[in-house]
Symmetry: C2
Subunit: 221 residues, 2 copies
Amino acid sequence: MKKTALIVAGGQVDAGQLAEQARQVRSEGGLLIAADRGLEALRRLNLRPDAAVGDFDSVSEETLAFYTADPAIRFERHRPEKNESDTELAFCIAREEDVKEVRILGATGTRLDHVLANVHLLKEAFDLGMDCCLLDSHNRLRLAAGRTVFRRAECPYPYISFVPLTMEVTHLRLSGFKYPLYDHHMVLGVECGHCISNELAEEVAVLEFAEGLLLAIESKD
Amino acid sequence: MKKTALIVAGGQVDAGQLAEQARQVRSEGGLLIAADRGLEALRRLNLRPDAAVGDFDSVSEETLAFYTADPAIRFERHRPEKNESDTELAFCIAREEDVKEVRILGATGTRLDHVLANVHLLKEAFDLGMDCCLLDSHNRLRLAAGRTVFRRAECPYPYISFVPLTMEVTHLRLSGFKYPLYDHHMVLGVECGHCISNELAEEVAVLEFAEGLLLAIESKD
């Protein structure tokens, strides 16, 4: 089985989703990593991470004292002026531990600069050879780099949308979806009608394209 | 003065911000355009748009009846299977009316596919020759296509972040900011440390770069 890590970042975290994801990752022998203020979300559920990384400037003294007292937790405190984001530093730990699949909670919230920077981390994870998704209570985002198979049994949400990460995505083909596409040339900023709020029409649906990078976003209202 | 339009889209809309923006746009002789479910936000404040566009499938009968009864409102009802998004259709109206500056409210919310598609509309507005920004209660997003000047008096929020829209942004230079940059090569997905949560250090700060497209995001926590 692929080694998994759950990274808890500093954005909005749904407590029920965190409890469920942490349980799942633990049951698979995976890692739980707190990125900076993600520690607070873990503290509220009394969950112990394997590692915590960040400058911790926005983490309370109480939470910090609670976790630093535990010698089993790998603590990496960085200076606030570091170049990497806290989630990028968490990636480094995941990579050292030979993790192949990363799920990120707390990547979304009110600050759109943080949301977009976290969406772009999917590209960094991809370059590092790790499967990665961002999860929140309404969305699952993944990067599709070519052919991707969607199975109804594995889709958590009713809608599937495709948004380009590159300026163009060529020869896009959607089969097994409610709104199929054949050889579509996708241009960033120009909606094609079938790429937002699509749905699975069959048990297995396939996305294919030639060049570019695409975000696959499963969501619910 | 440049002709302005306020487009109210179907995402989350802060009532106070809508009231203030509508007042401002009206005082400048600008247009108020509802994109589909944005009509509901206008109805709650008893604001009358100049135009409304969409399939209106998610607008209540009551709201629809209220506005369609008003002959002064330009109503464009499209079939649900249309190719364009409702906000794109609102762009078409703005363009016909010779609008040069567009502000969009209701572009953000829980559905990340909608948020990202709306962010990408900044590229479409740019290609149409319109200045455009997305506004919500925590963020103002704009597309920077080269040299951009930031004046403290015009910045609504304390933080300024820069996130690439293209895979690379070359020769990036930030001057007058708390964390300056000189000749930085920006790569999508790789954080540079100075591009998230930067701040103005002087009354006037300047962003410059050679190639690529960049999102400038002013925000508050």
